[in-house]
Each structure stands twice: as structure tokens, then as C-alpha cells.
Amino acid sequence: MASRTKQKEEARARRLAEERARAERARRQRRYQMVGGTIVGAIILVVALIVISSGGGKKETGLQTGTTANATITGINQLLNGIPQSGNTLGNPKAPVTMTYYGDYECPVCQDFTLNGGFSQLVSNDVRSGKVKVVYSPFCTATCGSPDPGVFDTQQVAGFAAGEQKLFWQYTELFYHEQGTEDSGYVTEAYLDGLAKQIPTLNYADWLTARKNPNYTATVGSDESAAQHLGVSGTPTLVFSGPKGQAAASEAVPTYAQLEQVIKQVA
């Protein structure tokens, strides 16, 4: 009898243990399904965020055509007309203050500074009045992180070639207005040509010839070396030189008021 009771109890204990194990397995499977679903959901969400991040904040620009292009070059000419240019220098060569603008044509932060920061007001006020001149110095940042870093020299030489016709800054402004999607390899010959053809006063044939000048490629290289020697590490870097010395703007996209503060330190 005792043996039979004992057997019953053991069988019950076994059954209970099996039930617990089954419940545990089911619970574990539910948990893994929840974790797996959470991981898949998280990845989908992050991919969506990356797509928005890569496309957001960036105008759907690239090369403009038609009335949009006309409006852009009209606005640029209004900003620059009447201001002397010499190569990559904008403004009176005898201006007491020089702002060296270390930039990369494909750099989105440079675009932000040029179009939305204090640059336009600086040109309209201080450059136009002869107080400041701006010298553009190429420094590879965004382009060097793109699929085609070798295009840096080519795009910069295109700007220098326009500078032979005192249109460097029209070309530079156009580039910043019509930047394409970053890291998409949008800077092609067609793109560079398209920018040049939007400048009504640019002699296209002379521009093409000037682009073949090997001195410009050498200038790009020497400008970069000089910038590295100076400690430039990002773009835009804005260095002001004047009678009182040298100072750099600390903000990446300084406002006009912030630029004025730096000018006061050196003028």
C-alpha cells in the first residue's frame, strides 16, 4: 500500500515537473519571439531614421535649370556685382582685414554658412565697403569622405578656372546653392559644366582651357598643405587677419554679429 502511495506521489511529482518544464519552454519561446520582434522593429525604425536623416535638411538641389537657375544666378549677381574679384579673392585687395575661408564645395556645413549664416551679410556690408576681403582656400573634408575623393581637385580647379575671368565667387556661390545629395557622386563633368553654363558672363571655351592649367591643381595641393600646417581640421574654418593680429571664428556657422565680433578683435 505504502509502495503504491509512493508511486502515485512520484508520478504526480513527475507530472508536475513536466508541466513546469512545458510552461517554462513556452514562456521562453514567447520571450524570444518578443525579443526577435523588438530587434526587427528597432532595425526597421533605425533604417527609416537614417533615410530621413540622409535626405532631411538637404534641399533637393543638384543642378538647377530654367527659371529656378535664373533666379539663383540673379540673386548671386546682386550680391557680388560691383565687388572686385581677383582669382579666389573677393573684395578690395587693400582691405585691412582678410577673412580666409577654408572650405570644401561639397561640405554641407559650408553651404549652411554661405547661404544661411553671416556670409551674405558680411559680403553686402564689410566686403562691399572695402573693410574686409575674403580669400577662399580649399580644404578637403566632405569630398574626402565621399565615394570619389579624387574629384576634390577637379571641382576646385573648375572654380579657379572661373576665377581667371573674375567669376570665381559666382561659381563658388552656385556650387553651394546647387549642392547635390551627399556621398552620391553627383560631381561629374556634366555637373561642373552645368554650373559654368549658368553664369551668363563666363566664356565657356576659355573656362575649359583654363581648367587644363596644371598650376591650379598645384595650388589646390599647396593650399591644403598650408591649411594643415596652420592646424585647420574642419570646414568651414574662418580665419581673420588684420592690423591687430589673427583670430578665428569659433562657431561653425557664425552669424553676421559673431563675425563682426571677430573682426573687431583684429581690425
Binding site: 508536475l16 518578443m34 525579443v35 532631411g56 562657431e251 561653425a252
Partner: protein, 174 residues
């Protein structure tokens, strides 16, 4: 498992869970401080405190500092607060929610760090700190989620007297 052993395991599991929750809470509070500072700097338009060679301004001014017009710091702040609130939900759903938010934060932080290194070519120390915090949070929330095991005990459907007999016999056998 005996009631004594079950209670011991419960205590140990409870202690581990409490420690994990405290660690996650501390990291979230630090993250709220970091993200909160970045949000403040953005809207107050003041200069961000940065190290000598830091590129905080460059990064914070880049197109990658905003997502559909919303500063990324605001999203980070929401993420840290979300993980903190998930600690208050003391069940599987709370643990999964905390893990999910931390995972999204970690993956997106890694993407932004990649952009700093290869696109912007400048580093924001505050952003790197937040990325480190999110990495730690995803580890801790994963551990918390996977370690949460119910203690195996004799089901209450078995009468109490019988449960005690079974447990006494099991103890005696040991």
C-alpha cells in the same frame, strides 16, 4: 525545488534585478543631463562647451544634427526618459520596451558617430558621451531582459498539505 530554495533564488534574482534597475536609472539620468544640455544650447543659441580640439559646434551645426527639423538631442532626451519610465513597468512589457528603446538609441547613435567620423570629420564630445551611454544601456537592458526568469516552484493547484509532503521528501532525499 523546496520552498526554502525557491525563496533563496527569489532573493538572489530580486537583488540582481534591483541592481540592474539602479544602474539603468543612473545611466538614464546622466543621459538626460547630456541630452538636456544639448537641447538647452540649441534653443538658447549659446556657445556649447567643448574641448580644445573638439568639433562640437561643427557637428551641432551639421545637417545630421536634425531629423525632419527636430534636433536629434530632443530625440535622445525622449529616449532616455522612455527607458527610465520603462523601469516603472515591472513586467515583461516594461523590460522589452526598455530594451527596444535602448536598441534604437544605440543603433542610431552608431550611425551618427559614423557620420561624425567620415562625413563631418569632427567629433562632438557630448554626442560621443551619449553614444557611450546608449551602448551601456543596451547591454544592461538586454541582460535584464534575458535574465528575468520566473522561479520554478510547485504550482499552487496542488493542495498545501501535499506540497509540504513532496517538499519534505525531496529535502530528505538530498
Amino acid at each position: 525545488m523546496s520552498t526554502v530554495e525557491a525563496n533563496g533564488s527569489l532573493q538572489r534574482a530580486g537583488t540582481a534585478e534591483r541592481r540592474l534597475r539602479i544602474a539603468i536609472c543612473v545611466l538614464c539620468l546622466i543621459g538626460i543631463g547630456v541630452a538636456g544640455y544639448l537641447v538647452y544650447v540649441h534653443y538658447a543659441k549659446i556657445k556649447i562647451i567643448c574641448g580644445a580640439n573638439g568639433g562640437c559646434e561643427t557637428v551641432q551645426s551639421s545637417v545630421y544634427s536634425k531629423l525632419a527639423g527636430v534636433p536629434v538631442a530632443v530625440l535622445g532626451l525622449a529616449g532616455y526618459i522612455g527607458i527610465l519610465f520603462s523601469l516603472m513597468i515591472r513586467n515583461e512589457l516594461g523590460r522589452v520596451a526598455g530594451f527596444g528603446i535602448a536598441l534604437v538609441g544605440f543603433l542610431f547613435s552608431m550611425y551618427l558617430t559614423y557620420r561624425e567620423a567620415f562625413t563631418i570629420h569632427a567629433y562632438c564630445y557630448w554626442c560621443l558621451s551619449s553614444a557611450t551611454l546608449m551602448t551601456l544601456l543596451v547591454i544592461l537592458t538586454t541582460v535584464r531582459l534575458l535574465r528575468a526568469e520566473p522561479i520554478t516552484r510547485t504550482p499552487k493547484t496542488v493542495p498545501r498539505a501535499e506540497r509540504r509532503r513532496i517538499e519534505r521528501r525531496q529535502a530528505a532525499r538530498r
